[in-house]
Amino acid sequence: MTRPFLLQKKVRRTLTVIGAAILIISVTIYLALPVVALFFRTTPELFISSLSDPVVQSALHLSLITSFISLGIVIIVGTPFAYVHCRNTYPGKMVVDTLIDLPLVLPPAVAGLALLVLYGRVGFIGSYLNMFGITLAFTTLAVIMAQIFVASPFYLRQAKSLFEQLDPSYEQTARTLGASPLRILTTITIPLTASGLVSGAVMTFGRALGEFGATIMFAGNLSGVTQTMPLAVYVGMEGDFNVGLTISILLVLISFSIMIAMRFLASREVKHA
């Protein structure tokens, strides 16, 4: 009936609270301390003066532009894709499902090599493109392609699971009222899943911004053309340490502000009926 050893309720309660507090504090510290350490390794004056370095500015410029373009393409193509993928059964659906997850498992450097082997000048597709004078490797477009490849699973998986979990009765009702699938997608499905889609977009943007292995393999490292911020950090870490540190801090600041902005946008959610 009663357990052989039973602590007083109060004691148990206190222990639980202490245990939970330890867990939360240790996880927070483990994640936050390295980032904080970045800020303390440099001085504000050094940071401000490094900001005017042309390497820093071109890396920042290039990273933001390519990441936004990659995010845009993933959202514009990925949302209808996820919708069609979820609402229909077609032969090979399972294969496509697995392929969506593939870039998550693939090491980024392998992804970069794969892109190079396919789209490079002597690649399977690249050699044909080369005949028409189209080069992909070592261009800014290569940066975008690499970012899309590694970052799209974040958005696609999120969109997929959101659409699958959405109560189909809303869409079915709209269908009976005569709405086309596209209209359903834009006026019902997306607004209802908006906050989840936004969080998927945030993750995609963060991943694209931080992409390194595939970029250096497929796009190369050329300041102003393909040297994104992570590449510049890597070069800077071994050459001009302050530049590397500055760009790292910039990346942290940008990531934080994007996440805060997205959370603010996502908080304005469409309430269910």
């Binding site: 399972m94 499902d97 697995t98 450097a109 970069g112 070592f138 300041s223 890597y234 071994e238 340490f241």
Partner: protein, 319 residues
């Protein structure tokens, strides 16, 4: 019921496919067990993959360390023992490192060598941030001097090891149709070089500047640099881009060209009068817990056996 069976089997099949894919990917990214070289790269920085133009492809995608060929078991941490030396080595010695490790272990039974092969600038950063090394082989005199002044070396052990010239390599098929050094400046050519802080990078820039001053002019120099599509972080990175055929030309050390597999590369040599002779130095680190074995390794590298191995891989002797 029919629907549920579909769900279960589809999940099952999906997991199997993912596992197969993961195994395939893992199989493609680890070197075959029979060919584990003592040369490994430690990924302290974000994952980079270096493919070298040697018969054994090594990839450093996850952090994988293996002891020298005497025992082919992977060691998972760099706890220095009496029998294992950790040698931080400039990446251009990747091809020679396997044989050097094997011969050293054969000459000094019981001792093994683990090489950490990266650009000298990367190794220097690691050491300055607390990484442990017994011996440091640097491809750049200036980095050696910096480390000496910072007190990382046992200064009396710092000695020149070998030398190397710069050479221009082309893919064997010569897709850019580059026949001479002046062709490097032709518009539309793609050139790969090392970044400014990599020793081969500074060597390349100096050689090009010398060529411009003596023969081809400053416009040629400017055009060559405008043809550069990528500044790599290590010398094997440049060699990889060239051997893959993705660029028309690259500047590397003569040793890389000499030890490349047959039929993969051709070259255009740079006249000695304009060329930059890189001197590699080697020294025992102050922090070593194995100064005796470290000194033995240095003696081995400087002995006729070690020097002959280096020469076989295209390095020149210290004049």
């Amino acid at each position: 019921m029919h629907k549920r069976w579909n769900d279960v089997s589809s999940v099952f099949i999906r997991i199997i496919c993912l596992l197969i894919f993961a195994v395939l990917v893992a199989g493609c990214t680890t070197s075959p067990p029979t060919n584990i070289p003592p040369a490994t790269t430690v990924a302290v920085q974000p994952t980079t993959m270096t493919l070298v133009s040697t018969p054994v492809p090594t990839t450093a995608v996850p952090v994988k360390t293996t002891a020298a060929s005497v025992t082919a078991t992977p060691i998972t941490s760099y706890t220095p023992s009496e029998k294992t030396l950790i040698v931080y080595t400039a990446a251009s010695l990747t091809g020679a490192s396997k044989e050097l490790g094997t011969r050293f272990s054969a000459t000094y039974p019981g001792h093994t060598v683990v090489f950490n092969l990266e650009g000298t600038q990367a190794l220097k950063t690691q050491v300055e941030n607390g990484a442990y090394a017994d011996v440091f082989i640097s491809a750049s005199n200036s980095y050696t001097n910096t480390l000496k002044s910072e007190g990382y070396f046992i200064n009396s052990t710092v000695k020149p090891l070998t030398t190397n010239y710069v050479i221009v390599i082309l893919p064997a098929s010569n897709p850019g149709n580059i026949q001479s050094l002046s062709d490097l400046a032709k518009p539309g050519k793609k050139i790969a070089m090392a970044a400014y802080n990599v020793p081969i990078g500074t060597a390349s820039y100096t050689a090009l500047a010398n060529l411009a001053k003596s023969t081809y002019g400053q416009d040629w120099n400017k055009s060559v640099f405008s043809n550069v599509v990528s500044y790599e972080m290590s010398e094997p990175g440049v060699a990889t881009k060239v051997s893959l055929g993705e660029v028309d030309a690259g500047l590397v050390y003569e040793s890389t060209y000499a030890s490349a597999p047959a039929m993969t590369l051709t070259s255009i040599s740079i006249p000695k009068t304009d060329n930059y002779l890189q001197t590699y130095t080697m020294g025992v680190m102050k922090q070593t817990e194995d100064s005796g074995v470290a000194q033995e390794f240095e003696d081995f590298m400087l002995s006729s056996v070690g020097q002959q191995i280096l020469r076989n891989y295209g390095f020149r002797s210290v004049s």
